[in-house]
């Protein structure tokens, strides 16, 4: 894009850029309003429906009372214990799966024979729902933190592992050859060529895993815990504090949106060379 602009005479370059500016700003604003509208409409409906009697306000309280519930829990400090417990479990399981998935994925993907041998087994594991395996985790690791972090790890590791294997096997052999003629050692080849070349394919796996982390977190905490957002949801439901339950659900949703946004930013940064193409 830039190269084209360079070739234009100065005066038409000015026109071109101001034209682009005028056209550019407008659609962005329009698009932002358009994509925000359904969310706002949904939240308004949530607020209005219980008030006008469309739904029972005991079962679904208006959004504002859920927000008040959040504010109350923030003021009392009760929410921070739950948040810390949940974030701790989710990030421990996620980071473990990141390290193991990428390291193992490079090892498997780099060796064609290992890849061909293990592929069916890995596909089988990846397709086995981690929720179905939860009883197994409890039997083996008990009801403590280990089985909770374990189940999050198990859910998260497959997308990262499979995407890493695939990304590594798709690395352009020309690049590997080039680095070899430059005398790259095995470690340099992995760190400086194979990993960065595979990263654009690894990243979508990381994003899927992050959303799995929150999914598995909620499942694990609802099936037996003493703190955490998932526990807060099921406990509040048991004691009929529906506003608190929705407050916890809102926080979980907000956490998911935040993580997704952060990873999108990270991906843009890491893969910026492709976006400029």
């Amino acid at each position: 894009m830039e190269a084209v602009v360079h070739d234009l005479p100065a005066e038409s370059r000015g026109i071109a850029s101001s034209l682009r500016g005028a056209l550019g700003r407008h659609p962005v604003a329009v698009r932002a309003v358009c994509s925000a509208a359904p969310v706002v409409a949904f939240l308004l409906f949530w607020e209005a429906a219980p008030r006008v009697g469309l739904v029972d306000p005991i079962i679904i309280p208006p959004l504002s009372s859920d927000a008040q519930a959040i504010a109350a829990m923030v003021k009392s400090g009760a929410i921070f214990g739950h948040l810390a417990a949940s974030l701790g479990r989710a990030s421990l399981g996620f980071v473990l799966s990141l390290v193991v998935g990428i390291a193992l994925g490079i090892l498997i993907g780099w060796n064609e024979r290992i890849r061909a041998t293990l592929n069916p087994l890995l596909t089988l594991f990846a397709q086995t729902s981690p929720i179905a395996l939860f009883p197994f985790f409890i039997v083996v690791f008990g009801v403590g933190e280990v089985s909770k972090v374990g189940i999050i790890f198990w859910g998260c590791v497959w997308p990262i592992l499979l995407n890493t294997i695939s990304g590594v096997s798709h690395v352009d052999p020309l690049l590997v050859k080039a680095a070899r003629t430059m005398g790259a050692t095995g470690g340099q080849m992995i760190r400086r060529v194979v990993f960065p070349a595979a990263l654009p394919e690894i990243f979508p796996g990381i994003k899927i895993s992050a959303s799995y982390a929150i999914l598995m977190l909620c499942a694990a905490e609802m099936l037996g815990a003493k703190a955490g957002l998932g526990y807060l949801v099921s406990y509040s439901q048991h004691v009929f504090q529906n506003a608190n339950m929705y407050a916890a659900i809102l926080l979980i949703a907000g956490l998911g949106v935040l993580v997704n946004w952060l990873l999108l930013k990270a991906e843009r940064h890491v893969c910026r060379y492709r976006l400029s193409a």
Partner: protein
């Protein structure tokens, strides 16, 4: 001990590709060649005759199906070859900027940052790419990428240089400047250079010897000596009778199957095969 003075020795080198279990295709057949230390060898031949395959073998990136290649007296089966290489597909790292690409071979050897910077500045200036140091390869034209690949191959100042049609995508003026630069490198430094091209004049002008290949299977048809001393300058070579004669001779070897197509007065028309 006898091999010591030879940079490269090819003896009975064959290379087959076996595609999916089917009958193996014999791409290179029984190549024999000795290349001196400091020699400039050009390789010409029709598309698909195995020139790139041969360069891969010389770089130790693949090994012969049978036969032996010695580089500095060592078999490429046993030791890896360190060389500067310009590959046909450029092979730039897309996630690195132009400067980072050029500095890549130096960074593998922990060359200090200031030294790397000095080298990349110098090499990028040589190929007229100093204004694009912070661009990514995807933002460059084919000829620009080719020049970055050349700069990267030269950055580590290798004593062994393999170039696969390195000037093919360049405009005539840039090409001539870089040909002169390469002549300069070949004249001054004790570098062994193997250079693949489709331009017969370029081959004769740059090289000490030109290996003319035929296809199916790829073999050396003839190794032609270029009887022109160094130092050379591209501008004067174009009209030099010896170069014209050699160019015509090589072109005739390649077009042997079509004798009518032998070049007339206009060398440059026939020079590109």
């Amino acid at each position: 001990m006898e091999e010591k003075k030879w940079k490269i020795v090819l003896s009975n080198v064959c290379r087959d590709y076996d595609d999916g279990g089917e009958e193996a295709v014999n791409v290179l057949n029984r190549l024999n060649l000795h290349i001196r230390e400091g020699e400039f060898l050009a390789i010409v031949g029709p598309s698909g005759c195995g020139k790139s395959t041969l360069l891969d073998l010389l770089a130790g990136l693949s090994v012969p199906t049978s036969g032996e290649i010695l580089v500095d007296g060592q078999s490429t089966r046993e030791t890896s070859v360190r060389c500067g290489m310009v590959q046909q597909g450029y092979a730039l790292f897309p996630w690195l900027t132009v400067r980072e690409n050029v500095e890549f071979p130096l960074s593998l050897r922990d060359v200090p940052v200031e030294e790397r910077r000095r080298v990349s500045d110098r090499e990028l200036r040589k190929v007229f790419m100093e204004g694009y140091a912070d661009h990514y390869p995807s933002e460059l034209s084919g000829g620009m990428r080719q020049r970055v690949a050349i700069a990267r191959a030269l950055a580590s100042d290798p004593s062994f240089l393999l170039m696969d049609e390195p000037f093919a995508a360049l405009d005539p003026e840039t090409r001539e400047t870089l040909q002169d630069e390469l002549l300069h490198i070949a004249n001054t430094a004790d570098k062994t250079i193997v250079f693949v091209t489709h331009d017969v004049f370029e081959a004769a002008a740059l090289a000490d010897r030109v290996a003319v290949m035929t296809a199916n299977p790829g073999t050396f048809r003839e190794i032609v000596d270029v009887p022109v001393p160094r130092p050379r300058k591209i501008a004067t070579l174009r009209t030099l009778p010896e170069i014209r004669e050699t160019t015509r001779y090589i072109a005739r070897l390649i077009h042997r199957d079509q004798p009518d197509a032998t070049p007339g007065e206009n060398i440059s028309d026939a020079a590109v095969i």
